[in-house]
């Protein structure tokens, strides 16, 4: 609303017709709106409470005093300090008291997230770069004499660190003797590896930086967490059992374990089957598993065994072994419409435009996802037996006719014009 509005109203009041006040008639039993108690949007704060609030805000979030600003000036440029002060004034400390909330969720960090502390597991270790070293950064390679001297010095230093009370002297027991020898060995090795043994640096700070882990480009190891929980759940690679079937599969495929782990495997059908013999019924479990790398490979495997786990493993291995390449148009859909019949089951697959999604039933959805298809529609007009639907879909996807092949068969010449029009940026 503009400032001159009230003035205009003053001058115009005589000429403007006043709206006739209509007789207020209520059409329903409930009290009219004005009669209801109106509450303000914000609770009104009493002057006393406001005073208390000001006090709490000042004590909990005090302004920077002179000693702190002096410290800040050491670290930041004047422009940065102006920005910091502007940021401080932008947020009212009373708002922090009234509205600020501390995290209470189970995933909150065990320390304040204001960079005052660095957690070795969750945070990156502190890093320093050459600009943090005052003075010159020049160094020289040492000659052999200097190197020997430096190694002796550093080895002594390391030994002193290992035995702060001084080296054990006099008659030594076998254990202590061996311990001492080992310690000397490590001290010398450390000294040889120390960069101070191979470079001579005049600048004291630069020399210190050579052995400072904060200057190293190698990330420090994560700290070893040692509590009961970790000890119980820890698994060593040597304890892991090698599955002979998996080993054979890897040999057959000429793959490594890493590649096997990238395969998406899902068991889609499980049911019990019984074999009636003259001794009685033998129950076993049947599994049907699919496997795919989500990039054009898809396999279906079956397994059956009286042991549930055994049958499952059988089916997984069979699925991975049976993986076959699936031609995909633009890496997202099929080449045209497909149809396949297995038993009484008929599966029709329809290719669809980009962004259509997988609008198919759940079994075909799993297969399409494992194969890396993104746009597909499907119909199963006849029987929907799970096993047959999966097999028919797999067969249909594997046995696609490619346009190139069709052109060869008909003796036609086929040219992909998309490669010309879109500068070859198609799949």
């Amino acid at each position: 609303m503009s400032v001159c509005r009230p003035v205009r109203c003053l001058f115009a009041s005589a000429s403007l017709p006043k709206p006739a006040s209509a007789p207020k008639r209520s059409f329903h039993a409930s009290a009219p709106r004005a009669a209801r108690k109106r509450r303000p949007h914000y609770p009104s704060i009493k002057a006393e409470d406001l005073k208390l609030l000001n006090q709490v805000a000042e004590t909990n979030y005090p302004k920077y005093d002179t000693s702190e600003t002096a410290l800040l000036e050491k670290r930041y440029t004047p422009a940065q300090i102006v920005a910091i002060k502007a940021a401080e004034t932008a947020i009212d400390s009373r708002d922090i008291v009234t509205q600020g909330r501390r995290r209470t969720d189970p995933w909150l960090l065990p320390y304040e997230d204001d960079l005052a502390e660095v957690d070795p597991v969750t945070d990156h270790a502190e890093k320093l770069d050459p600009s943090d070293i005052p003075g010159s950064h020049d160094f020289k390679d040492v000659n052999e004499e200097e190197r020997d001297e430096a190694i002796t010095f550093l080895a002594n230093e390391n030994l002193a660190k290992m035995f702060p009370d001084g080296l054990p002297e006099g008659e030594l027991s076998e254990d202590t003797q061996r311990q001492l020898e080992e310690a000397m060995g490590t001290a010398v090795t450390q000294a040889v590896l120390d960069p101070r043994a191979s470079f001579r640096v005049k600048n004291v700070h630069a020399a210190a930086a050579l052995s400072d882990p904060r200057h190293s480009i190698v990330m420090p190891d994560l700290p070893r967490i040692d509590n009961r929980m970790v000890r119980q759940t820890r698994r060593l690679s040597s304890e892991e059992e090698e599955d002979p079937r998996q080993k054979r599969l890897l040999q057959y495929l000429n793959w490594d374990k890493q590649k096997l782990r990238s395969i998406r495997v899902k068991t889609l059908v499980v049911h019990g089957v019984t074999n009636q013999t003259r001794m009685g019924k033998i129950r076993s479990l049947y599994y049907l598993t699919i496997a795919g790398n989500q990039d054009g490979l898809l396999g279906v495997g079956e397994g059956k065994s009286t042991e549930p786990d055994e049958g499952r493993k059988q089916s997984v291995m069979a699925a991975i072994r049976n993986m076959r390449p699936i031609p995909r148009y633009e890496n997202r859909t099929t080449y045209g419409d497909l149809e396949m019949k297995v038993g009484a089951t008929k599966v029709q697959l329809f290719s669809r435009p980009p962004g259509f999604g997988l609008r198919v039933q759940h079994l075909i959805f799993e297969l399409a996802r494992a194969a890396g298809l993104q746009d597909l529609a499907a119909k199963t007009p006849r029987s929907r037996n799970k096993m047959n639907v999966i097999k028919a879909t797999w067969e249909a996807l594997c046995n696609q006719k490619l346009p190139d092949e069709i052109a060869r068969a008909r003796g036609k010449k086929l040219v992909d014009v998309r490669k010309v029009y879109y500068g070859g940026s198609v799949h």
Binding site: Y335, G336, D337, S351, L402, P403, I406, A409, R410, K412
Partner: protein
Amino acid sequence: MSLVNLAHVCSHLQNASKARLGLTSIPVSKMHVNLMLGLQREGFISSVTLGGTTPPTPFLLQDQIDPEEHSDMAQKLAAEPWAAYPSAEAKSGNLLGGREISYNVKVPQNPARRRLWLGLKFWNNEPVLKNMKLVSKPTRRIWLTSEDLGRITRTREAAYVKGLTHPGECMFLTTDRGILEARECVERKLGGMALCRVY
């Protein structure tokens, strides 16, 4: 123009492909001949030959000569061995430079005994022509405009005819310019009566 015979031809070609026949015959009519020539142009069948009730001599044997002629030729060659080589005179007599192959096929005088012999194609152990179905039915003809055909060839449905969604699918129509493929009709902005779809 009955479509019943065309329906028989469609299923016969499907059956012949499934049975892996190399050569098959259909009754002769102008529409059949033109449609088969269209199929040949699209590469679905290898040859279209007019013949009688017995199949025409296979192409490989047609170039062979009879045993009597063979003995005559042997005598002639013994006298003039140079006749084995092609001469300039023989070349000039051949107008198309040997590209056109003329077959001496015997066509019966009685039109009822004539048959159209088709050579079927197979590629990678699979028939090239796998599916052939009528679009118009004897009791319900379907005429399509060129706009409809444009939509159909772009895999969309038009005039209750499903789009050509299978890879390499073709549809044939009879137009006032003869029997044409659907894409050709779109190019020439022609409409017509849909006959059959093939893939």
